[in-house]
Symmetry: C2
Subunit: 558 residues, 2 copies
């Protein structure tokens, strides 16, 4: 009897189940369910009062609907029986967190809290806790907190304690009513198993869990006396390793899904990180880039090193027993999309339509006709700020070299290249810290449909780039963790060898391109350091001053 | 009996006659004639052999057709009699030069030279003499020629000796057959009057006539032994001041035009320079900007000073008895046009069409809604190189500050502003050399239809900007010189007081904008010096290296 696991990938707009054969990782069936309330950023469901700017919420009940809809669907589609499904696992966006009662009831399900926005799930891209993040960082520096350096010196407004502190200070009634503050990922596992667990990945990357503990009580007290006991009163100090079993499926959850009660469920995981083993590689020195609107760079290594501007370094954050390093570029596909939407004249739109191509495809085709250096342009890829290695949201884009003969495909290619230089900066920062990238793998939405982009990355980084084979990397990775939780494989490394895989396509550096890009990279690096490392009062702090003036002008208009 | 003069403005594509009342400069009638052969840059008329790249020729017979067509037309339109027309003058593009026989016959009119491109008029924008210009500059430096500093250290490929040396070395048969090498402006006056003259303006700005003489024989011999006697064998050492009479209209020319034989004709002039007095102002310290695809900045002053990167300083080059300084920005309207053609997405094209606006107008309207600094952008205006004060064609454009929220009107406004900063650089260079700009006047095609642009210039330069009233500045200026040549006014200054005038519209600096632009200008200046003054091997020499790599890549593709 063949055995299967199901991985469920909780994204921003929908959830996806993937039924996978345990013996070889073959993807047998998949189903998607869109969240009914989607991203809640205008007003609460059934309400008309507008949410403030930068808010982004979700409805936790939508997560359970995904289970009820997609799992029966993949079973039906595949003809696989419930007995053949030996394990389940999920991955999630993060930090996506929520307040709940001790029995797991979401606060937003209580009638008296239904209209309180702070009672709902705060989605990863809820950015309204920036003032709280700023205080978390300032206080961390003042009190000499050692964990700061593990996060590039800055905790994000997206992360757990920024959001938790916002709840306490803007809605104390919610904070005090909440028995638990918990990642939606862990809450969903709780609903499936009846067991509350906290996974090592989100705790480490999003909730400052380092070297076996959270920040001390005195630190939280310095932020707000009422916040002193946040860990012990709302969270848990017991973390569970990735791939460990959280519990068995409850009778109720078995009823939702058509699976057997007691089916092993793995502890929750994060969408980017769970993808890593789906490449089939978790060896020390492997870097996986999840390339989409932004790029997340993850490196697995045996050594603990300080690398400039990492978003996070977490023991067991990607694979148990190894350090997981996370870096990132905050704008990649987003920048290309910005250009396609805002910088391309009608003639290219017409031509793309005539040829039945997307504008991206047309621009890539035209840009691919050029040799490296031919357009005479160089760009800095900070349209959405920089989060590695400079960690500065005030930075912005730059384009140099334009002449009256510059055309849209020239700029498009320069923007593709700029993101490759940005990746090389991260790879070199790792190398300089004693963490050479021995194997480089691309995953996510961009690599499969952008061959020029991938060749440029290989040429700029002078490194072979492999591509993950699965188009459902996160769900496949989750299914692998389910197989480990079910005891089929001893650990993620073994599961990766059997169930993960790379595509046959490998991008190899072309020596003559490497030579030109090496020179261009030196210029990129000059601009990077000049504009990126100068303070607002240094001559090179142009970007920071432009931001300040923009803020001043907008204030003046208001 | 009212008296009139006619000014004829020879442009790149056509010639225009303007009939002007001498007493007050009123513009009575105008007529335009397009050159039949226009700009000859593909192949000679009647030939199929393609011209090499960068060539631009004209047919001198087209210039005479302008006289025959437009002068009778303005007489007929106005009802002014030939006796009432007391003087004629012309202005011309420059350096636009040609080979001729001793009797004035253009070499291209000789059957045996008809198919030789070097026998035709070389238009100002003929750029194929760059190698010759490079040698002129290198040899000038080697031999320590003092005149180099009067031209910002560089003679242009567009200028007289570059083109003359190209003729000698690429078509010695043309060079040796030519009794005269002459500006088309002076040649046209020769055809009208039967008298060969050389005007002080083109000789000074285009033919290195400084302090009473051309460069010495030994210098020309060092360029090429056969070039040693170019001045004495092909040119003339006698120059005529602007506003002086060249001669009277010949019987033949009177027959072409319907004017009286003997009607005074002034010596020729250059289109930009002749516009200066049409503003009504020629006082020391006045700067006139002719703003179009590029901008020509002219300053009249009593003092001789070395100003960094001037295109030329010529005694009597604009007004007799004063130094005329010429500087310029090689891309202004051209940059805005580049952006409108290459950087604006379809939605704005559609909107402009719906509103019945040009795309320029729509973008200006949207950009005008912003406060200074609001878009958060800063640009360098070197899309077509820099010709003041850096004098470097290898420089290119730069744009910094883009975010994912940047829109086309933001960039459009940043480009407008960048050209204003470029003008301020020139004004400050003058001031730092002891030549303060006391009065700033805008002329040319841009000022009248771009109110936002002009307000930005006033704010950036913190200086009131007047506008010339006439829409035919060059032709009006020529008509004024005709009035001086005819003896109605003692000199150009007196003619300017009576016939020139400014519009009522004055752009005044807005203090709060001035403050923001002062800060932005400091950042512009930082980028200007960093990218503009760094050598190719300095870290800041990014633009130069991008050019080199582009040239290398294009060579590799060929």
């Amino acid at each position: 009897m063949e055995r299967y696991t199901i991985g469920i990938d909780y994204g921003t707009e929908s959830g996806r189940a993937l039924l996978v054969r345990v013996s070889d990782g073959a993807e047998i069936a998949t189903a998607v369910h869109e969240y009914q309330d989607g991203v809640i950023d205008k007003h609460l469901p059934g309400e008309t009062r507008p949410l403030p700017p930068d808010w982004a919420l979700q409805n936790p009940n939508d997560y359970l609907e995904v289970l009820k809809e997609t799992i029966p669907s993949v079973l039906a589609e595949s003809g696989v029986s419930s007995e053949q499904v030996i394990g389940l696992a999920i991955d999630f966006t993060a930090c996506t967190m929520m307040p709940a009662l001790a029995d797991g009831t979401p606060l937003c399900n209580l009638p008296e809290f239904r209209t309180n926005p702070h009672a709902w799930v705060k989605l990863w891209k809820h950015h309204a806790a920036q003032p709280h993040a700023d205080r978390i960082n300032a206080t961390g520096r003042e009190l000499g907190q050692s964990w700061l350096s593990r996060y590039g010196g800055k905790i994000s407004s997206e992360w757990f304690f920024s959001k938790a502190l916002q709840i306490l200070e803007e809605a104390p009634e919610v904070y005090h009513k909440a028995d638990r503050l918990i990642e939606a990922a862990d809450w969903t596992i709780w609903q499936m198993t009846g067991v509350e667990t906290r996974n090592a990945c989100t705790a480490g990357y999003k909730a400052i869990y380092q070297d076996g503990d959270y920040p001390p009580r005195e630190y939280f007290a310095a932020l707000n006396p009422d916040f002193a006991d946040v860990v012990d009163s709302k969270m848990s100090r017991e973390l569970v390793d990735l791939g460990d079993k959280a519990g068995g499926l409850t009778e109720e959850a078995a009823g939702w899904t058509g699976l057997e009660p007691g089916t092993p469920v793995a502890v929750a995981n994060v969408d980017a990180h769970v993808t890593f083993p789906a490449t089939g590689h978790v060896e020390s020195g492997t870097m996986v880039m999840i390339m989409g609107t932004s790029t997340c760079h993850m490196l697995v290594a045996d050594e603990l090193r300080e690398v400039e501007g990492m978003c996070g370094v977490v023991m067991g954050g990607i694979v148990p027993g190894r350090y997981g390093y996370e870096a990132g570029q905050s704008g990649v596909g987003d920048i290309f999309a910005w250009f396609v939407d805002n910088g391309v004249p009608p003639e290219y739109h017409r031509q793309a339509e005539e040829l039945g191509l997307s504008l991206h495809e047309l621009l890539e085709r035209e840009a691919a006709k050029q040799r490296p250096g031919e357009h005479g342009l160089l760009a800095l890829d900070w349209f959405n700020g920089n989060r590695s290695v400079l960690v500065d949201v005030e930075l912005s884009g730059l384009l140099v070299g334009m002449t009256l003969a510059t055309k849209a495909p020239d700029i498009y290619r320069a923007l593709l290249e700029s993101t490759a230089y940005g990746t090389r900066i991260i790879i070199e920062a790792c190398k300089e810290s004693g963490l050479p990238v021995k194997k480089l793998i691309a995953a996510g939405g961009l690599p499969g449909r952008n061959p020029l982009l991938m060749q440029i990355y290989a040429d700029v980084c002078n490194q072979e780039i492999d591509l993950i084979e699965s188009e459902q990397g996160p769900a496949l990775g989750a299914a692998m963790h389910a197989a480990v939780a079910a005891g089929v494989y001893a650990d993620i490394e073994e599961a990766a060898r059997h169930m993960g895989r790379l595509s046959d396509k490998v991008y190899k550096p072309i020596p003559e391109n490497v030579a030109v890009y090496d020179e261009l990279y030196r210029d990129y690096r000059f601009l990077h350091d000049l504009f990126g490392r100068s303070g607002a009062s240094d001559p090179g702090g142009v970007m920071k001053r432009l931001r300040e003036r923009r803020a001043g002008a907008l204030k003046g208009s208001a």
